[in-house]
Amino acid sequence: MVNRSRNYTLFFYLCAALVTCTLVLVNYLAMEYRARVDLTADHRYTLSEGTRKIFDKLLDPIQVTYYVNAELPPARVNLERDVVDKLSELAGAAGRDAAGNPKFSYTVERIERAQFASKLEELKKYDITPTTDVQSSGGDDSSVATDASQFFSSVLVRHGTGKEVAINGIMNLVAKEDDARPNRVDTLEFDIMFALMRMRSQVQKSGLKQMLKSLTQPLLVAGLVSEQMPRANPKLGKALFDALDQLEAMGIGNVKVGKQKIEWGKKIVNEFGMPSYFTPTTEPTVDPNEPPDPKPPSEPPKPGEPPRTPPPKVKREGPNFYYAYVRFMLGEERWIDIQDFSGETTAEACLKKIEDRLWDMLKPNTTLGLITPANSMDFDPRGGPPQSSYAPLANHIRVNLGYDTRVIDLRAREKIPADLALLIVFEPQSLSERELYEVDRYLNQGGNVALLYQGWSARFQVMRADVQDIPLQRNASSDAFTKWAEHMGLSFGENFLVHRSGYRLNTFQNSRRGAVQQPVEMPVAVNVGADDVDRTSVFSRGLSGWPLPFASEVKIDDKRVEALKLQRQDIIRLSGEVYNYAPEAERFASIYRGLGFDSPEVAKRINKLDHAPLMASLLTGLFPSYWEGKTIPKFEGAPDNDSDVGGQPAPAVKTRPGKLVVCGCAASLNSDYFPTWREKDIQPLLNTSVSFYRNLAEAFIYGDELVSLRAKTGAPPRIAGGVKSSDKVTWFLLCIGGVPLALAAVGFLRGIYRNKAREEYLMSLKEPGASHE
């Protein structure tokens, strides 16, 4: 007899196994051949077109190593997976070369807790450093740091013969604070591709002889060596001087070496007897010279006695410091010092160190040109030469970005160098017609120019306690600039813009204890917010939070731009609530120091804009010369018989595609607004301020290849402006209570309807003669 139940059970298990196997197979195939659709607005989870183009043209493979701690903090448990996902996406998109080798390969190196210290030392040579992650609990207002952990999450990119580039502190977006991190999983594509570009553009280091041969002016070398030398390396002084001799011989007249030996135990002091800039190295020292032979024993040994050995030579102990110092100077602006030769024991080793450091000074570097307004020259309170209010910015660009900066004095008839990455013109409205002509020519010939307009300014000098108004000053535009800007389709707002939550500057007030900082209640600088920039553009990286004091709206005439066949790309457009601050009477224009945004006096002067004002925009294309068919303007105050060109017809110029960035504010790091500020106070402003120049310079240097890469993305859009408590409560009630109430009402009505229908049906049953089918 057939047991149908048992047979079916067997059939059930077989079918279940078959279905499971089929589904496993289908899933495996789906993983191998998968298709995807990225629904996000900026396609943030899809590789950008720029990345694909770079991969297509790639000749040498890219090798990436991801260093990560094996044990990550609980909040970062998915960090490794997220990074690996991104790397595998890149590897998949890169494909293989003609020989079948992958163009992009990656390895993951997990670092165990026990290896942490040794790895830290080992990876230092690649500039790989661990990152610190602070875990916090509680809401935004009551956020409390609960733990801090240090771990590795760094990527090392290798490509061709270029020096490896490390990307440190890569984080996934777990908390709100992670949006502000410079290196994140969602920006990894950009960071790796940009690292690749930098590696490709690295200039190959030339040999020392070649370096010295190519010098355009003599290299001055000063060597300082003390008589005493470190115990561990007593021959250092001689080795260093020998190296300098060899350097002079190699330079064939291009190198002038001066050597100075500092007497035993002496320290270099300046003319006031204070320690000099040349600081010695602290280390136990000895006399490097051979000690004199010890005196032979006074009496010969007696017969039968063993021969007397002379006492051993003992080196003379020196003080606890020594000098082994070299300074290289090229002209007045470029110089470097080498102080640490402690690891070099031979002349060859010293020469190698000198070669490396000289390369840092002599290698071709990005140069930004600066044109500063004539009226901003100020005297250095420390007795230095007069300098522009924008001089600190130039210094910050040099120090923080590693670019060279060059102030171009057009008034002194200096020419604009052709090799600038970017020419920054501060307050262009103050340029004379002739200066403007030079800038226009530079732009026509394919130059990259940034015009930073500053319509208003204020002097935050030390004020008397009873003075409440900070005087404002309108920076008038010259006719020449107004006409030139019109020609380009540009104009600027009359007043300056303010945000309710904008940046507040400090002023100084005299008191018995000296000048004390007093905050100005009125926010005089608009802050660039995350929503004010296109997050996917390379031009807007790191601009969130950038304060723009006394900024004016930039207006671009689209019809004119179209007529000139220029392309326009907006960089910053202020969203949210933006107000115009209209000084009441320009003659006595001022800002009340003690009055806030909502005070009646201030309210009279501000009006809310009905549109999102443009703050910065980029125009690209062939810029036609404004002076075409006109005469070349003369320098201001130049006599008629001046030999310099002027008054002649402007020569025709062969135009090349140029780039013009227009910004409604120049004073982001103007020293007028930071008198006596300490460096640590300026530091928070620094990164965003120099980011603007870095973005422009990098975009112009690397061109479309970089611009077509998607930049920093990932941060979700945020609520703009403040939220009133009443709005908050209304929405919470609507969300939490509204829908259930509506559902209850629908359910209740439906119940009534059903009851009614039921009653009608029952009534119909009671009616005589009703059919009940």
Binding site: Y8, I736, G747
Partner: protein, 310 residues
């Protein structure tokens, strides 16, 4: 099949229960995502200021693992209780059509539940310009995950006539499905110290769960319990007896850790849910969820068919 679908839909919306479940679901979801944010460290939505539904989609799998078994528990068990099950089984239509009719009605109810949360996206639009891609992706993820949970619930409901038991077992299974990916950290850590035990756990934990399921609702409960006990014994034995050679531990741990993490990553529902939820629709994630549905609906149909022969 359409008649079955209509009948089931009527059962969901004919009484206040359907509306009550939806209302409770909306209240819990909104409280968790707008005010409490248990996964993001606390703070209300306005303070966080993010124009996204990240928290909503973050808590959905856990809430759905509780709510959807309650929706699905009555699909078959109710018919058994009301003695309409035999009538359904004797209808001149195949069992799979009956099952699909019921499943389709449950999916429609799921859609209704999700639609009831539409006030959240309306609020997003009120306060700025959100990126709608992740919102759409999130809702798609919620639907496919919910579809999987309902399939699981319907399968369990078909095994028993006790609704409470069906709910409890389906709840455990759904929580297990959501939590399997979270075992990665746990088993990954174990793989570093005791690689053999980690690999054994990877195999025996599902066996233990299946045994438990069989013991709860299967026909041969003793066998199910025996399988579970055996799995526990094997697990414990390997854990206690496996003494890895310190010299080989590092290599072994690496291989075993990677295997465990990769395997759990592939079968983790949360991983696929997050992938779709961030706004990226991938065929493999959609097929993964479809597989859950196909597997449990098929098992459901076959288990019902088996009753014809018992």
């Amino acid at each position: 099949m359409l008649a079955i679908y209509r009948r089931e839909l009527q059962a969901f919306f004919g009484t206040l229960v359907g509306f009550g479940i939806t209302g409770a679901f909306v209240v819990v979801m909104m409280l968790l995502s707008l005010m409490l944010d248990p996964l993001g460290g606390g703070g209300d939505w306005f303070k966080r200021g993010e124009l996204s539904m990240r928290t909503f989609f973050g808590v959905f799998p856990w809430v759905a693992a509780v709510v959807l078994p309650a929706v699905a528990m009555r699909l078959w068990a109710e018919d058994r209780r009301q003695a309409t099950f035999e009538m359904l089984m004797t209808l001149p239509i195949p069992t799979w059509k009956v099952a699909l009719g019921k499943y389709g009605a449950a999916l429609t109810f799921l859609l209704f539940m999700l639609a009831a949360t539409c006030v959240y996206p309306i609020m997003l639009a009120q306060w700025g310009k959100p990126d709608w891609g992740p919102v759409v992706g999130g809702y798609v993820a919620c639907f496919v995950l919910g579809a999987g949970f309902i399939a699981v619930g319907m399968f369990v409901s078909g095994l028993t006539d006790n609704q409470a038991l069906a709910f409890f077992v389906a709840l455990l299974m759904c929580l297990g499905i959501v939590g399997v990916g979270e075992l990665r950290g746990l088993l990954g850590d174990l793989a570093r110290t005791n690689p053999d035990a980690a690999l054994t756990h990877l195999v025996t934990i599902p066996v233990f769960m299946l045994g438990l399921l069989a013991a709860a609702v299967g026909r041969d409960r003793i066998l199910g319990a025996a399988v579970s006990v055996l799995a526990v014994v094997v697990n414990g034995g390997v854990y206690l007896m496996a003494q890895p050679d310190p010299k080989q531990l590092a290599e072994k741990a690496k291989v075993s850790g990677e295997t465990v993490i990769a395997a759990l990553g592939q079968i983790s529902v949360l991983e696929h849910f997050k992938e779709i939820g961030r706004g990226v629709l991938t065929t493999n994630s959609l097929i993964f969820f479809a597989s859950y549905v196909v597997l449990f609906v098929t098992l459901n149909v076959m288990s019902l068919e088996s009753r014809r022969y018992s």
